[in-house]
Symmetry: D2
Subunit: 139 residues, 4 copies
């Protein structure tokens, strides 16, 4: 477990008043929590920018399952990258459209590459890579 | 079903050569697919910027399950927003850390609000809202 | 003038250590300054998302001055929007290419619209709208 | 000079209709121009991600000129980096606030570093690095 440290931040009162309004809107009950989130967000971005950093992220794809052998192609890519994929969840959005979220873990460069390969597959309507963290490096 | 249309794009040869290199790196086998992806990405962004547009997205949170009643708080928020949440997947990242991905559908403004509430909960280490599409509006 | 307030932030020691490394790399000599910057960045984003908020920003365009009547078209658009444009600076990048930065001030929605019109002009190779602040709202 | 090439893009009619609405709103009169812009934007992003690529960009800072020796500090940093700075424009936003835009050219990693140093200077209220291109690589 890590220890909590307390340090002081100097800030103009006007700026703090505006920040308090913003974080209340977002649902924060506490300035420290909001500031920790700003800090963590910057650090996660930094982790992902190093090619060989261990990261956790998701790849989200939306596609039409009726498209000839698309589902099969996506499954094949996933099996080739199975060591990067922790798990996958599939949602039937309507009669035609599927959404799949893959939870991935590995070197930043490899997770990105696998994500790009899935997203660039012909017939995938929309895809996104979401960068998050294993939580071990970022308390 | 929608019909395919073919239209011509004029482009300097140098620019096209560079684009071809970039999309090959990303895994595209086909210029049309790469261009459709650029277009869809811009349109998804646009959908999410309209407060009452129906959208599909995910909310990803990483947290320490040992943190006092955090898991319960997150579950309570989710139940209050259950009409927005299609499904959730949970991964045990290590002895302490959990990752949860919620797949959400609803008005853009409501999905964002629910996501912000989950992310701002004290003890959530990192959170992200990922914007995608139901696929019905964006072929 | 605004008054400085000092408040305390609680943060895990590991997280703070990582933040200290990051901000040293970026050139910060002081945690408060780094945190104020994270806060201001979020607030500027927020200002720009309100259509009728007074904002300051820049529009950067790169174009080939030899392209038939492009420079003239850009000048005409600028004159029509002259009440939004504080000043403009022009750089001759090479024998063919020009870069122009317009410093703009006005309602967020109007600055964006003028910027998009300049960027979408045929022959403009690249354009960007940069969001900043008048500094009066954000100390 | 580069030659224009024309190539065909296949796209669902619904998707094209939505794209046409979006680009009309942004001021495009022409699909090819809008698609070239999407392509160039992706390529500029790519150029900046390579540390030793020659790039052109701007650094925008807003600050209070009354802050003790801030203006002088910023000038000193600029002189140390003078080989990266093509030109600078200064605007007096009000009695207190200044905006300065520096137009920069050099290796991506060096332009970023100089920008971060200016932005992180104590008293700079807001700063942004804007990535664009020399136009020679990107037609």
């Amino acid at each position: 477990m890590t220890d909590l440290i307390r340090f002081g931040v100097s800030i103009p009162d006007d700026l703090l008043a505006k920040f308090d309004v913003l974080i209340a809107e977002k649902g924060y009950t506490n300035r420290s929590e909001a500031i920790r989130d700003l800090i963590r967000d910057r650090l996660v971005e930094d982790e992902w920018s190093e090619a060989d950093h261990d990261v956790v992220g998701t790849v989200t794809v939306v596609y039409n399952h009726e498209q000839s052998d698309l589902a099969q192609k996506l499954t094949e890519i996933q099996h080739r990258k199975h060591d990067l994929i922790i798990s996958a969840v599939h949602v039937h959005l309507d009669a035609h459209n599927c959404l799949e979220v893959l939870i991935m873990r590995g070197k930043s460069v490899e997770v990105k590459k696998a994500g790009e390969q899935l997203i660039s597959t012909r017939g995938v309507k929309h895809g996104k890579i979401t960068m998050t963290t294993s939580g071990t490096d970022i308390e």
